[in-house]
């Protein structure tokens, strides 16, 4: 009931409440401006332009553990600072203050009582006379112990994060270096020079962090014959690289024993199947072949296990696949049939082996597969200028795919150099 009466009170009642509040505030705030200055929740300090302390409040004196008589007229502002703070003051704070007339929120440490350091935030402003001459410097000092502790944590956190980042960058660099070395070990450093033949190769790595599974090689079998192969191990990464390594050396060893392409692939099939019988299957596709340069041409015998057919660019224009249909993936089944094919390279002809990174690249606005037809057309419309020229043209093609090329891609091109243009006797002597 009483409450109700009170609340229904009209304006004069409210006026009385405010008067009462004023009275209460006044009794609390009986302190003068001087009292407010002395016991403010921050330190106040006035110094002459040379830094000599002219006035200081009790709050700050308490923090410093000093008597007014020790400070006023006897000490300079910098005397209140730790040595590091002094250096910072002289090299940063004072120049800034002199140039700008005020400086705010600078973190410094003061020499607090009992030999302790107390982190503070300092703001200073120069008071000038009416004609702009500097008279004195007014400074407020805020207790920043909590804030500084928090900042220390932040700094520690930042340092730890930076250290971790440096470490991980170093690790990543080391890893990439190791991967690059390993990757190089899966490919010939450079193709050997084969008398009467020209060769070109290219390897595109999709990611420096991932070992690719593509491989190729070219090596002599005996005085007149050369073996070559190119293939693609399923998958990526270290496991794929291990298969690639096994595959590469198995092919080389098998070829020395019996260079018949089907026999070589059969040996590889047995080895891979044996090695990876238990657990996750590991297999690959490959073309293996033997080249026999003869008088002005080269005989080629090759066999394919599940690999895209080789393409031949003919000296007289045009390009055709050398079909090897039905060859099985290598390493899947204990026994696998492989398909053999043979052809003859005439001067100016180029045999191209490639992995499906090329034909399965995504192109155009609808991200369609590049495809074997497009590859044949591309090759057919290039001038027949030999293996290296063809590889260069295809390298440009791969680059034009941009991010449409997301797989590793290997190219190996072999050919018989075109006969030198016959020097006709145009200028008979």
């Amino acid at each position: 009931m009483m409450g109700r009466t009170d609340r229904s009170g009209s304006e004069p009642g409210e006026g009385q409440d405010m008067d009462a509040a004023d009275a209460a505030f006044t009794s609390l705030l009986e302190d003068s401006a001087e009292e407010l200055y002395e016991h403010a929740p921050c330190g106040y300090l006035s110094t002459l332009m040379d830094g000599t302390v002219a006035k200081i409040n009790t709050t700050l004196l308490d923090w410093l553990g000093l008597d007014r008589s020790q400070v006023v007229g006897r000490m300079r502002f910098t005397d209140l600072l730790t040595v590091g703070g002094k250096l910072y003051h002289e090299t940063h704070f004072a120049p800034l203050l002199q140039m700008k007339g005020e400086v705010s929120g600078i973190a410094l440490d003061i020499k607090a009582s009992a030999g302790r350091r107390m982190p503070v935030l300092v703001t200073s402003k120069v008071k000038t006379s009416e004609d702009g001459a500097p008279l004195l410097i007014r400074t407020t000092v805020f207790d920043a112990r909590d804030r500084r502790a928090y900042e220390q944590e932040l700094l520690r956190g930042r340092r730890a994060a930076e250290e971790a980042r440096r470490q991980s960058e170093a690790d990543r660099e080391r890893l990439q270096e190791a991967l690059a070395v390993l990757q190089q070990s899966l490919l010939p450093a450079e193709l050997p020079a084969v008398p009467g033949l020209e060769a070109g190769s290219y390897y595109h790595t999709a990611s420096p962090d991932l070992l690719g599974g593509d491989f190729y090689d070219l090596f002599p079998l005996d005085t007149g014959r050369w073996a070559f192969f190119l293939g693609d191990v399923c998958g990526k990464g270290p496991q794929a690289a291990a298969v690639t390594s096994l595959t590469r050396y198995t092919l080389r060893a098998a070829a020395l024993h019996d260079a018949d392409p089907v026999s070589v692939l059969t040996t590889l099939n047995t080895v891979l199947h044996e090695r990876y019988r238990s657990g996750e299957g590991r297999y690959c596709t490959a073309i293996f072949g033997v080249l026999e340069p003869a008088d002005g041409h080269a005989d080629v015998r090759l066999a394919s296990g599940g690999h895209p057919s080789a393409l031949i660019q003919r000296a007289d224009g045009g390009a055709d696949y050398l079909p090897t249909p039905g060859g099985l993936l290598i390493g899947v089944l204990p026994e696998a049939p492989f398909v053999a094919a043979r052809t003859q390279l005439l001067p100016g002809d180029t045999l191209l082996l490639y992995t499906d990174g090329l034909t399965e690249a995504r192109t155009g606005p609808d991200r369609a597969l590049y495809g074997e037809d497009a590859l044949r057309t591309f090759t057919a419309t290039r001038p027949s200028a030999g293996p290296q020229a063809l590889v260069t043209a295809l390298t440009g093609l791969l680059a034009s795919f941009g991010d449409g090329l997301d797989d590793d891609t290997a190219l190996l091109a072999l050919g018989v150099p075109a006969a030198l243009p016959t020097t006709t006797s145009e200028n008979p002597t």
């Binding site: 830094g51 300079r76 250096l87 140039m99 700008k100 410094l108 700094l155």
Partner: protein
């Protein structure tokens, strides 16, 4: 490389007049000379610059190894002298730059003919029988200070960048960059400044040298000023009626006057 852009070189003053190169010390940049440069510009051609790692010098030119020794900073000076083909230069170096000047004068004797050392100290850390005023721990404390203030910079500088500048003659760009150095570079410069020992180099000075000290300077106390005078052959020491470490800011007229008198007499 464009040295002028790298070191944010500005050339003012009387074209064809005697050349003054004014070099800032650790902490800020060429704007340290803002209050003395106009007076000096009446008579002299005044060359101002920022060391790489300070002010508005090109940060991409930073090379931690080079700038971990005073030689690296001296190279900045001699490269500027070469680039501008300066001759008969009076090199005015503030604080650590006084020692940089000693090295630069030794490197380019045909270009630098006089040295003015403003509040110099060849060695900040106390040593056997030598009082520089600081201990190695003090310098660590300064590095801490640099670090904790780096956190505050963005907040402290924001209002300035927003354009609340009371003294328009300083310009917003100045206040935004003045003393606001990259903390990593500042740390390297601080270490180089406060941990170097150039006392032996002082003995090699062969050019006329003026030493300017303040009556009261916590960084380069008066006994250090006297030490420098005693060691540098034929040098003159002038004590300015000023306090602090930056007389070019706190007593610009007296500083400019002392430099002018020295060049006239030398």
């Amino acid at each position: 490389m464009d040295i002028g852009r790298r070191n944010n070189v500005t050339v003012t003053g009387r074209a064809g007049g005697p050349v003054l190169v004014l070099a800032h010390g650790f902490g800020c940049d060429q704007n340290m000379w803002r209050l003395v440069a106009p007076a000096l510009a009446e008579q002299y051609q005044v060359v101002l610059f920022d060391y790489v790692g300070s002010g508005r010098a090109d940060p991409s030119a930073w090379d931690e190894r080079r700038y971990s020794s005073l030689e690296g900073y001296a190279l900045d000076v001699t490269e500027i002298c070469e680039e501008l083909d300066l001759r008969d230069v009076t090199f005015v170096g503030h604080s650590v730059s006084a020692m940089v000047g000693v090295l630069a004068a030794a490197k380019a004797p045909r270009r630098i003919s006089r040295l003015v050392m403003v509040a110099p100290s060849p060695r900040y850390i106390d040593d056997d029988g030598y009082r520089g005023g600081f201990s190695a721990e003090d310098i660590d404390e300064l590095l801490e200070s640099l670090e904790s203030n780096y956190l505050g910079w963005s907040a402290a500088m924001a209002p300035v960048i927003m354009g609340n500048v009371d003294r328009p003659e300083l310009g917003q760009e100045l206040t935004a960059s003045f003393c606001a150095t990259d903390p990593d570079m500042a740390r390297v410069f601080a270490r180089t400044t406060f941990l170097s020992d150039s006392r032996e180099d002082l003995r090699t000075v062969t050019v006329p040298t003026l030493i300017l000290e303040c009556r009261q300077d916590v960084i380069a106390p008066r006994e250090v000023g006297a030490y420098v005078r005693d060691v540098v052959p034929g040098s003159r020491l002038v004590t300015l009626e000023a306090t602090g470490h930056c007389p070019q800011l706190s007593a610009p007229q007296a500083t400019a006057g002392a430099i002018t008198d020295f060049i006239a007499a030398a």
